[in-house]
């Protein structure tokens, strides 16, 4: 992702604490143009589908798996059905406390998901991912 100077971030997690942590860590990297968190995946999806594509900045999505109403997988499925011009502006990372093998395997089924990350998000593993 070295081709982008600045990145936008979207954090989707039903835990306020995890959103708070992610926001701080992301801001601390110094590579962040903007960061938004959503406690509900539906709201994030709504935002993404109505946002105007920006060719200059790429957006990284960090999405939790286990959330009520719309879970992380359901979000990714809905996201993948959006137009290609929208989808291409985003890179998704699934982040979870799950150590369930089914969840881990399921992540590989989605082509828009780049990688599975274990919680908690730390400055170290975020920097690794951005370098």
């Amino acid at each position: 992702m070295a081709q982008y100077n600045k990145l936008n971030f979207i954090v989707i997690d039903d835990s306020k604490l995890d959103c708070f942590i992610a926001e701080k860590i992301i801001k601390n990297t110094g590579k962040c143009e903007s960061v938004m968190s959503f406690l509900q995946a539906k709201d994030a999806l709504q935002f993404i589908s109505s946002a105007t594509p920006d060719d200059l900045t790429h957006t990284i999505i960090l999405v939790d798996i286990q959330m009520p109403v719309m879970n992380g997988f359901e979000f990714v499925e809905a996201f993948e059905s959006l137009p290609g011009s929208v989808v291409n502006n985003y890179t998704i990372y699934v982040i979870s406390s799950s150590i369930n093998e089914n969840d881990l395997h399921k992540v590989h089924n989605y082509k828009s998901v780049k990688q599975f990350l274990n919680k908690p998000l730390t400055s170290n593993n975020l920097s690794l991912l951005l370098s």
Partner: protein, 368 residues
């Protein structure tokens, strides 16, 4: 299937005399159904699922007893099948017994005591099987719940723990006191959530394994015990809390279960309020109507979307990301109501509020 009732026996024979004789002999000890052909027999089996023993003559014009048993095995696997036959058919009988179509055969001519002991044995076998089926079902559901629990532990227990680990790591590099305080507040919520989960798990276990204890319940006392906590929560969050108890006669039930049910419904009513609503309220009415206790818990909170309303009693189901639900509260309520043979109904409109109506039948005095 009750052991206190008469054993239900179906007897099939093409000779009407045999049928009549059979019925006359055994009708005082057993409930007897007689059929002169297999079509009629199947009708009885369909209409009376409590038939536990089938006796059938081997030699009948349209088909043999063995053939009949082979045919009905799929549709009616539970009743115990016994064949009545003479020695001449012994080869086909042995074959049928070995293939599992028949529990036992009774040779002709039979005596009353042959039949009686065969029926008693067959019924014992039937009851044992039924018990085994029931136990297996229990076991299957217990395993399914265990699986759900194991999965939820990684999220509901490990989740908050990992959040706190992450927060601690973040806090090390923080200098801004205001920011640090905000972080501490969120950490405290995460710990509360974890504790809530553990309390609910304990409640779940208590309900599953605990014995029901029926005693006379003074609803005014019960409500004031529970309401004290909610009154404080109501004052702090500006929620008007009203309650009304109408009890004109004694009510007997399991007090712990009712407290748990009330506690969960009230917790939900107080938690799932609209943050910015002006006149928030929770209203509870407990009334003894005829023999039933009817509890109505009403709020004007966030409501439940109709897509979720059928799932809210499922284990670990959460219909909202508002607040810190464990997904066990209403499951526990439903489970307790199943044990008390009670019912729960819910009416809800998004952004208008929710009303839960619980009906619990009272036990007669001293019943256990």
């Amino acid at each position: 299937m009750s052991t206190g009732r008469k054993i239900q026996v179906l007897y099939i024979d093409d000779e009407q005399n045999n049928l009549n004789g059979f019925k006359a002999t055994f009708r005082f000890d057993y409930t007897i159904f007689i059929a002169s052909d297999t079509v009629k027999a199947c009708e009885y089996l369909r209409d009376f699922p409590e038939i536990s023993v089938i006796l059938c003559d081997q030699r009948m014009p349209e088909k043999t007893g063995v053939q009949f048993f082979e045919e009905i095995r799929v549709e009616f696997p539970n009743p115990v099948r016994m064949l009545i036959t003479g020695y001449t058919d012994i080869e086909s009988v042995i074959d049928a017994v070995n293939r599992g179509h028949i529990f036992r055969y009774i040779k002709k001519p039979w005596t009353d005591s042959d039949i009686r002991s065969a029926i008693e044995e067959a019924n014992k076998f039937f009851l044992t099987n039924a018990l085994l089926v029931a136990k297996n079902k229990e076991l299957t559901s217990a395993y399914a719940e265990l699986g759900k629990f194991a999965y939820s532990i990684t999220h509901d227990v490990r989740g908050p723990l990992l959040s706190i680990i992450g927060a601690l790591d973040l806090a090390k590099g923080m200098d801004d006191l205001t920011e640090l305080r905000e972080l501490l507040g969120l950490m405290s919520d995460a710990v509360t959530k974890l504790d809530e989960y553990i309390k609910n798990t304990h409640e779940y276990y208590k309900l599953k394994r605990g014995q029901l204890l029926f005693s006379e319940i003074d609803l005014n006392v019960l409500l004031s015990d529970i309401a004290a906590l909610f009154k404080i929560a109501g004052r702090n969050n500006n929620i008007q809390f009203t309650s009304n108890v109408i009890q004109n006669k004694p009510f007997y039930s399991d007090e712990i279960s009712i407290k748990m049910i009330l506690n969960n419904l009230l917790s939900n009513a107080f938690n799932y309020q609209r943050k910015n609503a002006k006149e928030k309220y929770v209203d509870v009415v407990m009334e003894v109507v005829e023999n039933d206790l009817v509890i109505t818990v009403k709020d004007n909170g966030i409501g439940i979307h109709e897509n979720h309303i059928n799932n809210i009693f499922d284990m670990f189901y959460r219909a909202t990301s508002e607040e810190t639900g464990s997904g066990l509260g209403l499951y526990n309520v439903k489970d307790a109501l199943n044990r008390l043979e009670g019912t729960i109904e819910v009416q809800s409109v998004i952004d208008k509020g929710t009303t839960f109506t619980v009906t619990i039948p009272g036990k007669s005095h001293g019943a256990v």
